[in-house]
Every structure is written in C-alpha cells, then in structure tokens.
C-alpha cells in the first residue's frame, strides 16, 4: 500500500512546486506583469475545499481497505507446520536492553536468532522487561513496540526459506544500534530439530550448572 501514499505525495509536491515555478517565471513585476484583480469568491473556495475533501477521503478509504487486508490473520499453508493449522504458532519475543529473547511453545528459548517454520502462521507476542523496544524485520512484517506491562502482537507468515535481518527501531539506550535480530525461516522438519537440540543444550547446560553447584565449585 506504499504506492497510495507515494502517489498522493507526488500529486501534492508536483502541484505546489509547479505552481511556484510558474508564478516565479511568468508573473514578475520587472518583466512587466500587472496584478490582475482577484478572481473567484466564496464559490471557488467551496470547490477547492470539496476537491481536497474528496482527495483526503479517498486516501482514508484506500488506507482502511489495505490496512484491513494486511491485518487479516495469515493461514498456515500445505508446506507449513502441521500443528499450527488451526491456531497460529505462538512465540514470545522479549525485548531487553539490548537483546531479543524468543520463547518457543515447548519451553526452549533462543537469544538474538528467531527460528520459524516456512509457510506457517506465526503470532509473535511482544513484551519488554525494561524500556520500550520496537521489533522491526521489515521484509516479514510491520514494526510493533514492545512496551513494559503490555502485550503487543505481530502476525506474519514467511513464504520463503532464508535468513531475514532485523533491528530495533526505538532508542533504548547506549547499545540501541547494535540491538539487532535475525529470523531464520526453515522447513518444519528443521524447525522441530532446532527446538529439540535447543532444549537438549539448555538442559545439558543446566545440568552442568547443577553439577558445579553440587561439587561445591560454585558457591
């Protein structure tokens, strides 16, 4: 829907600047132009106001239509994750200075990198533990803010496998520019494998810590 705004902006900019250039070239006193008596009256003003109202209303209606289309919940396709056919796959994304953490349904989690299955409806629940962050992976979805105490959601479906770079889009302190993220879109099989290995690694890491504590190496 970017083109609607682009066309509207182009109309405004060309009309105004065209008239400015025309006035500047054609109506110069030193080139002998004489002021014409004022043309038009109340009727002209009404017509211009009506034309502007139609212009603004057209943009408004088109925006609502296209925004509604963008808002529709995407459905999981044939190549997608079977378990997300009815309800979208829900993943919690937590913004914290200056990292994104992703919690998957089975308890596994990952930092920085979000892995999602291809052709699957994904609902990202954005929360924040500290300040306002904005999750921004513009090739997959629009931006949304993670505000402490609130849950904001993004729905999207990635149609092609690949790696998508993302970033944060609200000033969040010193390392704001470096607070980036990455979305790996993989096949459902690879997604399940990733979850399993992530779970295993987290468990083994936890066991290691527990072991260290039991050995007395960690106070």
């Amino acid at each position: 829907m970017l083109w609607i705004g682009l066309v509207a902006a182009a109309i405004v900019i060309v009309a105004v600047n065209g008239a400015l250039i025309y006035a500047m070239r054609r109506f110069r006193a030193e080139r002998g132009a004489a002021p014409r008596p004022a043309a038009g009256g109340r009727r002209l003003q009404f017509r211009v106001a009506a034309a502007l109202t139609v212009f603004a209303a057209a943009i408004f209606v088109l925006s609502v239509v296209f925004t509604d289309k963008a808002q529709q919940t995407p459905t999981t396709g044939a190549d997608g994750l079977a378990s997300a056919k009815v309800e979208p796959l829900t993943i919690k994304a937590t913004g914290q200075q200056w990292l994104w953490r992703y919690d998957y349904p089975n308890g596994a989690f990952s930092y920085y990198k979000l892995v999602v299955p291809v052709d699957t409806a994904v609902e990202l629940e954005l929360v924040s533990t500290d300040v306002v962050h904005t999750w921004d992976v513009d090739e997959l979805a629009g931006k949304r803010d993670a505000v402490p105490g609130k849950v904001n959601t993004i729905l999207f479906r990635a149609d092609e496998e690949g790696v998508y770079d993302g970033q944060s889009a609200t000033l969040s302190g010193q390392a704001y520019a470096a607070m980036r993220t990455e979305v790996d879109v993989v096949s459902p099989q690879a997604y399940r494998e990733f979850l399993a290995s992530q779970e295993e690694e987290i468990e083994s890491a936890q066991e290691r810590v527990v072991g260290l504590i039991e050995n007395g190496e960690v106070p």
Binding site: A19, T67, Y176
Partner: protein, 561 residues
C-alpha cells in the same frame, strides 16, 4: 543623594536612565525588547543546533563510524532536539509574534508586560540549565525521552532531570508570553480593528497563543510527573504498581504535535503577509485562510497518536489518528491554494522575503506530502521510526521554522533595526540553503522507505545498502549549514551596515509600517481609525484622492504603491 546630584541624573526630563544598554534591554518589559531578545537568542541557538546536527551527520557519514561514542551521540541527539524545538523554532515564532503582532493591531504595548518579562527570563533560565548541563551530564534519552528509558532505573545520572527542568522552564515561559500576547490581541486592538480586519500574521499569533495555552500545560504536567518519578519514587510512568509507560507518550506527543502545528501556523501566517505585500494584490480568500489556520491547530494536535502507530493501542485509535491527520489536508490545502492563487496573476517583486517564502512553501509541501504516507496506518507500520520520518519532519520544520523564519526576518528586519538586510547575500544564502535541504533530506527518504534505516541510531552497518544515502545526506547538511550561517552573518552585519530603510520599505498595508523604524517605545503617536483589513492602503488612497486633480478618476480603484 543630594538634590544637586539628583538633578544631574535628569536627562531629557527622565531621571536616572543611565544604565548600560544591555541592562536596559535585559530588564525591559517592552514587547519590542523582549521580542528582540527572543529572536536574537533563537538565532544563536539555531547556530548551536546546526553544530550538533553536523557532528551527528559526521558520525553517520560512513558506516560503523567511531567518531562519536554511543553515549556522546545520544547526548548530542537529546540536546539537538531540545535546542531545535525549545530554543530555536518556538522562541523564534513567539518572538516574532511578540514583536510584530502588537504593532500590527495598533497597540501601544502589551497588556501584561510583567508576564512577558518573566517569560523571557524563564526562556533564558531554561537555556542556561540545558547548556549548563555540559559541565556534568546532558540527557541521553533522545529527542522525546520516552518513559521508561527516561526513568531513574535506566538513566540514573542527572541528564534527564536537566532536560526536564530546562524544557519545563522554557515551556512555562512560553505559556506566560502566550497569556500576555493573547490578552493584548483581544483587548488592545486599534479602534475599528474587528477580528475580520486583523492581519493574518496577528491572527496566526492569536491561534498560536491559544494552542500554547492548551499544549504547554500538558507538557508541564508530564514533566512534573517525570520529575516525581525520578526524584520522589513516583510511579506515574513505571510499569507495575499501577503506572503506565504509554501515558508519557500520549502527553508528550500532544505537546510535540501541537508545537509542530504552531510552527507551521507561524510560517503560513508569515508567508500570507509576504505574498500579499510582494505580489501587489490582496490575499485571496482571507477569511478562509484564517479559519484554516485555526483548523490546523485543532486537527493537528488531535492527531497526536499519529506518532504511536506501532504502540500497543487499539486499531480504532490508529484510524482516529489517521482521520485527523488526513483531515489536515483540507485546511493546509486551502491555505496553500490561496497563497498560490494570490501569487499566480500577481506582479511579483522577487525580493529576499518572497524568495524565502517560496522556499518555505516548497519545503513544507514536500514534508507534508511525505507525512501523508506516515499517517496511513498500514504504511506507517513500515515507515515509522525510519529516516523517512526524519526527512518528512525536517522538510516540514526546516521549511516552517528556518525558511519561514528567515522570510519573516528579512521582511521585518527593517522595522526592527531601521536597515534592510543585504539583498545579494540573501540570494546566495537562499539558494545554498535550498540546495542543501534537498541534498540533505531527499536521500534519507530513500534510506528509510527503501532500506528501513532506523532513526536515532549512532551507527549503521556495512552492507545495509544505505552508505551512499548517508554520505550524501551529510554533505547536504553541511551545505544547508553554510547557507544558514550566511544569513546569520548577513543579519549581524546589516544591523550596522545595511542600507537605511524608511518606515515602510516594502509598501506594506498593515499598521506596523505606520510606526517608525525602529518604533518608538510607545509604538505610535497617533493611530488612524481602521476601516478595512488594509489600513495603510486606505491612507494612501485618501492622500492620493486629496492631491489629485478632478480629471483623473481612474486612480481611485488602483492600489498606490
């Protein structure tokens, strides 16, 4: 003191006016002195804001630059925002209103001069606090310090306290100035000057004062809550314990959206005066233009949630913000239509004020054109917080405050100083600035809309596809800065060396051109009865009629330059 010594102090019948000139100026309650302090001060802060912008653009000229540390960049950013809005754009607009509007409506002073005096003192105090902070810690929280980043838990040094104190003092000063000026405009107009005969610039002043009376206290309330949060364990903007981080966004965006509109109302009011004076014909659709300026102030402020399209607010509120933003097309369109249709068909004298007015209309049209896209809900999800937004805002506000402000400066400079600003330097400055603003901000549209480069970041990464755009933008800001400095230098040198102007160098039609240049402390010895919206033209016609011979009846209908 003996009687003899007292007698010695009497000069011209007034006792004791022997203090240095700067003391006289700083302690004056005359609206012209206060206006001059605000205008001069704001132009000085324009120079400082430019240095800060240049330093940030130098950091962003190449990818992954390490010229400024992240903390230094964030401090630059915070001070640039506060300086550009609170110490340059708003005081320049209010200063010009405060100087010119009482003259335009034929008042011999302002209604509540003490308030004006306190107002300008608070402006000076706020500016001192903001820049005094360089001795310890400036704010790091950005142009609009969003809670909870601005809370004590996340920025524990005094930076945000300083920012809040400085902007609070300045805003309170603006509110006091607005009270004084509004009272003057309502109660002290010359006999016969009904609201429909008030010059468009003075009408813009009244609209802006009302607007400041609405938005100023909103920001003051938000700042008070922030200070309580930071210093007395408050919970207004803290999550949990019943606070709401989004509350800060609502309150602060009401102020910033209103301030944005105030600057545009100021610019359009200025341009309306200049267009009428330099095209040789009256402004077309005067009443509609005046009504539209009021509508801009109301609708623009109601569109505050246009800045919160990605926040967790309901989709209905987003549509409300979009409706208010797009509704602005009608009043903005009507004002600009009337300006353009006055120009087309006129006999234009392309002097410096008109040239800057052209630049202002052009830049504002680009900025507001781009804002249409920023207001469309679905598109805003893509474009918010990208450099596309930076570019749109800068086109509109550089167009309004810098080009519009400079148009006003060139137009009323002869009235303030008795001298005209150098014309050829003004032309060089204008074309440099105009080239600069295009080169600086057009590439940022592409970087934001095409590549999604985010705002406020102290660096961008190699391979993001925005290297060239940023380099060009940095060069453009340098060109823009050179152009602006030329006009500042022109103003400084023309105060002493400019060609002398009489009381009415442009053939103006409103009452300020009836006063001397610079005006006497009491503005006018006598005032004409106002019988139309163009009182000076009426006087010229009357004189022409009295001196003409009976066989020249044609001159009656022609304007006398």
């Amino acid at each position: 003191m003996s009687d003899a010594a007292r007698a010695e102090l009497v000069v011209d019948g007034f006792p004791g006016r022997r203090r240095p000139r700067w003391v006289e100026l700083a302690t004056s309650a005359d609206h012209k002195d206060i206006g001059r302090i605000l205008i001069g001060g704001s132009l000085g802060f324009l120079f400082i804001a430019l240095i800060e912008l240049l330093l940030m653009r130098l950091q962003l000229a190449i990818p992954e630059n390490s010229f400024l540390s992240p903390v230094a960049f964030n401090r630059m950013l915070s001070d640039y925002g506060a300086t550009a809005v609170f110490l340059f754009a708003l005081p320049l607009a209010l200063g010009l209103f405060y100087y010119v509007a009482p003259l335009q409506v034929g008042a011999r002073g302002t209604a509540l001069p003490r308030l004006g005096q306190i107002g300008v003192a608070m402006f000076a105090a706020g500016a001192t606090v903001l820049y005094g902070a360089f001795l310890f810690t400036p704010s790091e929280a950005g142009v609009n310090p969003l809670a909870p980043l601005s809370e004590l838990a996340f920025l524990s040094n005094n930076g945000v306290d300083v920012w809040a104190t400085a902007t609070g003092l300045v805003t309170l000063g603006f509110v006091l100035l607005a009270v004084d000026l509004l009272t003057t405009l309502r109660r002290m107009r010359a006999p016969g000057m009904a609201w429909r005969r008030v010059p468009v610039f003075s009408w813009a002043a009244a609209v802006s004062c009302w607007l400041m009376l609405v938005i100023g206290p909103v920001l003051l309330a938000a700042l008070t809550m922030l200070m309580i949060d930071r210093n007395y364990d408050g919970i207004f903007f803290a999550d949990g314990s019943g606070g709401a981080p989004l509350l800060w966004q609502h309150l602060s965006w009401i102020f910033f959206s209103g301030a944005y509109m105030l600057i545009l109302v100021f610019a359009l009011g200025t341009i309306a005066e200049i267009v009428a004076a330099f095209s040789g014909r009256p402004l077309q659709g005067r009443g509609v233009t005046m009504g539209s300026l009021a509508a801009i102030a109301v609708l623009g402020t109601l569109a505050w949630m246009q800045n919160m399209m990605t926040a967790p607010i309901g989709i209905g509120w987003m549509y409300f913000a979009m409706l208010m933003s797009l509704a602005l097309i009608v009043p903005f369109g009507l004002v600009i239509f009337n300006l353009l249709s006055t120009l087309v068909g006129g006999a234009l004298r392309m002097r410096a004020p008109l040239l800057f007015a052209f630049g202002a209309i052009s830049a504002i049209s680009i900025g507001l054109g781009a804002e249409i896209e920023q207001s469309m809900v679905g598109a805003a999800w893509q474009l918010k917080n990208t450099t596309d937004a930076t570019a749109a805002t800068h086109f509109a506000l550089v167009g309004g405050a810098v080009f519009g402000g400079f148009a006003a400066l060139h137009y009323w400079f002869p009235k303030m100083t008795g001298r005209t600003m150098g014309e050829s330097l003004a032309r060089i400055s204008f074309w440099t600035m105009f080239a600069g603003v295009l080169v600086a901000f057009v590439p940022l549209f592409f970087a934001g809309a095409e590549q999604g480069q985010v705002i406020d970041a102290y660096k961008y990464f190699d391979g993001a596809g925005v290297d060239v755009y940023n380099l060009i933008a940095s060069i453009g800001v340098l060109v823009l800065a050179i152009g602006i400095v030329l006009t500042l230098a022109n103003a400084i040198s023309s105060r002493v060396h400019g060609p002398e102007a009489g009381h009415d160098p442009w053939g103006g039609e409103s009452l300020e051109w009836f006063a001397l240049s610079p005006p006497e402390p009491h503005n006018f010895d006598v005032l004409p009865d106002v019988r139309s919206a163009r009182p000076l033209r009426d006087i010229r016609t009357a004189i022409a009629n009295r001196t003409q011979r009976p066989e020249q009846p044609a001159r009656e209908t022609q304007p006398v330059a």
